[in-house]
């Protein structure tokens, strides 16, 4: 494939990530076209892109998820490629296929890989067959209580019973020992039947104190695959990430190298192309297991950019245009320690209730080692139709201590009034002694909240 950079890229997203992509387009001398709903007419992405096309009303289904409107916008604007950002159509393989048929380059992997890695059980099978560790589980439906008992004994307690057809926590039971098993098994089956009209269940090993660690991958069209290190995303509330950092304070260099090598191996095994993230669950003993792959740019990608100095969005675009990665693994230098706080329009004192409305004052922190990726501004009206992310504060320092004190300083400098935000909650997180010691798991926020902070 000949490398020829695009002249125009259409951005099929909104908010901070749309602005993030526009910035790299400008750095590369590429014209950006933003598509938007009627709710985002006054947004910064619309203001800063080279051109903007309104594709539909406020509701995402009729705008940001409206494939015909987005493809038509690409047609009328002569865009050569589409950047999907994250969320919306970023992992929709049907959209990827339609782009291809319309001679539009989708900035991401092709639909085959997306289907393979996007489906959890397909991904698990593929990774397992390739010889990489997955969370120990039954791989098939458990029919009887005897079967459940013998399997649970094999993998060891605690275990989690999950509904095959399930989701949203229904039909799920954590079982700590064999005496609890029978009751849990029967009630999970009953609940699964009621919720999904399907009572088939399977069993997985359950990790009470786990770490959520993911590895950033870059892979070009010429089988060059490198990693840009890991990110620790264990600070979560109800599976929503709040704060991420790199490097992980939990891993040692040996495990860090292993997990990154495994991630590269998985990407190679599925012939992955473009930027992607492989998520692992790491237990207390630092055993790690593949969880899933995200075939897109991630919200928390800037900490990796700050740590390595590599613009990931730029490489997404260049890889799609057929460029070869100019660096080898040993060329990647891991210099900084970087932390990101997600600033959401949510009220931490009121069960993180999302709130919308007009921002009155808005001032972003600044100074060395501070980056703020955000689309909000003074008097910006936060529309109620989309997610509550107002922006991301990313700080970096030469070590973790420097990064944390810089983060404290930057959080003190941010002014956002008119709305409740998660800023005060981030202050609590980073001044918690367990966080300062780098001693936290996915249980951290639950623990912090139970102390009534």
């Amino acid at each position: 494939m000949k490398e020829k950079l695009f002249e125009k890229i259409l951005i099929a997203n909104r908010g901070e990530i749309a602005l993030r992509i526009i910035r790299t387009c400008k750095d590369l001398g590429i014209k950006s076209i933003i598509v938007h709903s009627t709710a985002d007419t006054e947004s910064f992405p619309v203001k800063f892109a080279d051109s903007a096309i309104c594709i539909g009303p406020e509701k995402s289904m009729q705008s940001y998820l409206n494939i015909p409107a987005i493809i038509s916008a690409a047609e009328v604007s002569n865009a050569e490629a589409v950047h999907p950002g994250y969320g919306f159509l970023a992992e929709n393989s049907e959209f990827v296929e339609i782009c291809k048929q319309c001679n539009l380059v989708f900035i991401g992997p092709d639909s085959t890989v997306m289907n393979l890695m996007g489906n959890k059980s397909n991904a698990r099978d593929t990774v397992k067959k390739a010889g990489f560790p997955v969370i120990p589980g039954s791989d098939k439906v458990i029919e009887t209580i005897e079967e459940a008992k013998s399997f649970a004994k094999k993998i060891g307690y605690p275990i989690i019973i999950k509904a095959s057809a399930g989701g949203g926590g229904r039909g799920m039971r954590v079982v700590n020992n064999e005496t609890e098993l029978e009751v849990a098994f029967n009630s999970a089956k009953k609940e699964a039947m009621e919720a999904f009209k399907n009572d088939s269940i399977y069993i997985e090993k359950y990790f009470k104190y786990a770490h959520h660690i993911e590895v950033q991958i870059l892979a070009d069209k010429y089988k060059n695959v490198i990693h840009l290190g890991e990110r620790d995303c264990s600070i979560q509330r109800r599976h929503q990430k709040l704060l991420e950092e790199t490097p992980s304070p939990f891993l040692n260099d040996k495990v860090r190298n292993e997990i990154c090598e495994v991630a590269v191996g998985i990407a190679r095994a599925v012939n992955y192309e473009n930027a992607g993230t492989i998520e692992f669950l790491v237990d207390e003993k630092k055993n790690f297991y593949f969880m899933e792959m995200n075939t897109r740019i991630q919200v928390e990608h800037p900490i990796t950019e700050e740590r390595t100095g590599i613009d990931i969005v730029k490489w997404q675009i260049l890889i799609s245009a057929g460029y070869k990665l100019p660096f080898k693994q040993q060329d990647i230098k891991f210099i900084k320690h970087s932390i990101e706080c997600r600033i959401n329009a949510e009220d931490p004192d009121n069960n993180f209730m999302p709130n919308t409305g007009k921002i009155i004052n808005c001032h972003f922190p600044n100074g060395i080692g501070v980056r703020m990726d955000s689309h909000i501004y003074e008097h910006y009206d936060v529309p109620p139709y989309y997610d509550s992310l107002l922006g991301k504060l990313i700080v970096s320092g030469y070590n973790r201590r420097e990064a944390i004190s810089r983060l404290n300083r930057a959080l003190d400098e941010i002014i956002i009034t008119g709305l409740k935000t998660t800023i005060p909650f981030h202050k609590k997180i980073i001044n918690n002694i367990d966080f300062i010691d780098g001693n936290y798991t996915t249980n951290f926020i639950t623990k912090l909240l139970s102390k009534g902070v």
Binding site: C54, P57, A69, S72, V76
Partner: protein, 144 residues
């Protein structure tokens, strides 16, 4: 002729006043002079002053107060004002139309979607050019 000009000027002034959120705008050249002031209760007062005596019969309240009948685009694509079959414009400014008449077609992903008028009346203004790209919500026609 001057009638048309006054109408267009008034419309532009209303737009300008709305856009700049001002209550008073005026326009003058060697033919006409128009002062436009927004009154309280959002009522508009328009005072056209015509220097040329010939056009003095101008009805002053003609374009006032009626809600505008605007037809907007409901999709993204290229708009065609000329029919591919007849090679003629579907409608021109000033043409009388009936509800359901086709005013234009929008070509979106190689499919043509006709734009039918929801009103019976007269085409007051066409805001787009033939074969230009249009976006969702873009103003296409005004009917009176």
């Amino acid at each position: 002729m001057i009638n048309e000009k006054i109408k267009n000027t008034i419309r532009d002034l209303i737009w300008l006043a709305d856009e700049t959120k001002t209550n008073f705008v005026s326009y003058a050249d060697n033919e006409i002079k128009i002062r436009f002031r927004k009154a309280f209760q959002n009522k508009e007062i328009i005072i056209p002053e015509i220097k040329e005596t010939a056009e003095k019969t101008e009805k002053k309240e003609e374009v006032l107060s009626q809600p505008k009948k605007i037809i907007k685009s409901e999709r993204v694509g290229f708009i065609y004002l000329i029919s591919t079959k007849t090679k003629r414009y579907f409608v021109n400014e000033g043409a009388a139309i009936k509800e359901g008449d086709i005013l234009a077609v929008i070509n979106s992903m190689k499919i043509e979607y006709p734009i039918k008028s929801p009103y019976t009346g007269k085409i007051k203004r066409i805001f787009v050019d033939n074969a230009q790209p249009v976006e969702y919500g873009q103003t296409l026609f005004e009917i009176e």
